[in-house]
């Protein structure tokens, strides 16, 4: 195994790229994909520490995160389809139905 710091920095880089994507993109689908990237970066951390301490609990947790990501993607994409049907747009800053 490599030193754990390498995995931490890889995870940090992917996490930051995901955050940049969430904040800067206007297309909601790409924002959702950036969230998937963030969840994935967390998984790298969990698996690296699971290997480091020889305890598979971290991998179990990563499995739960994958299940969560699937649920989140399904609901999020359902919302996007419903919204696109109503407003004909997928841009985040045109989604202002709840704005007073």
């Amino acid at each position: 195994m490599m030193p754990a710091g390498h995995y931490l920095f890889l995870s940090l880089a992917l996490f930051l790229i995901g955050v940049i994507g969430v904040v800067s993109r206007r297309n909601v689908i790409v924002v959702l994909m950036s969230i998937e990237l963030i969840l994935n970066a967390v998984n790298i951390n969990l698996v690296a520490f699971s290997r480091l301490f020889g305890d598979v609990s971290g991998q179990v947790f990563a499995l739960f995160i994958i299940a969560d990501a699937a649920a989140e993607a399904a609901v999020g994409l359902g919302i996007i389809i419903a919204f696109f049907r109503n407003r004909e747009t997928v841009l985040a800053d045109e989604m202002d139905l709840l704005k007073w």
Binding site: L8, I29, I44, Q59, A67, A74, R85, L91
Partner: protein, 172 residues
């Protein structure tokens, strides 16, 4: 030696295609680069001897979630969206948030450099040939210690499935 070469190849592929994913205008290109990132991450899981998670990542993420994404990208009209502006007009906010987060986590990593596992080579990690079979160990832990969270996750997936169907259904 071979281990570290594999790690660096997969890590650079993951970071490069993640950066490309965020910066491409076309949402379909972003999806393809995200698939590359996820596959590279799966390779890192394999390098960490998490074989079950490697399979779960390939089948669930790449085979399930990303197909769903591509389906939706094709469903909403792509052609008009490409020509619109893709980035919000707040470059400085984005840069500030990224730098602040990076500094924060980087400082946390730097300030704990003396702790075992960071920076120092790890004595604790078991050698690869001494590990128990991965799927077996994972199943044992999942179904003994984490049985209740497992059941709750299944309820969550059921709720998400019903929710997605209700959301995407055409109102009559």
């Amino acid at each position: 030696m071979l281990n570290s070469i594999i790690f660096y190849v997969f890590a650079s592929v993951a970071i490069l295609s993640a950066a490309l994913m965020v910066t491409r205008r076309n949402a379909m290109h972003s999806a393809v680069f995200l698939i590359t990132t996820l596959l590279a991450t799966a390779g890192i899981f394999l390098q960490l001897r998490a074989e079950f998670l490697f399979i779960a990542q390939v089948i669930l993420y790449v085979g399930g979630i990303m197909v769903l994404f591509i389906f939706v990208i094709m469903l909403v009209s792509l052609d008009t969206a490409v020509h619109q502006m893709q980035f919000a007009r707040r470059k400085w906010v984005v840069l500030f948030i990224a730098l602040a987060l990076g500094f924060e986590v980087g400082f946390a990593l730097w300030s704990t450099r003396g702790m075992p596992g960071h920076g120092l080579p790890v004595q604790m990690a078991a050698p690869a040939d001494k590990l128990p079979p991965n799927s077996e160990a994972l199943a044992g832990t999942l179904f003994h210690s984490y049985l209740l969270p497992f059941e709750i996750a299944s309820v969550l997936l059921l709720v998400a499935m019903v929710g997605a169907v209700v959301m995407a259904k055409k109102r009559t």
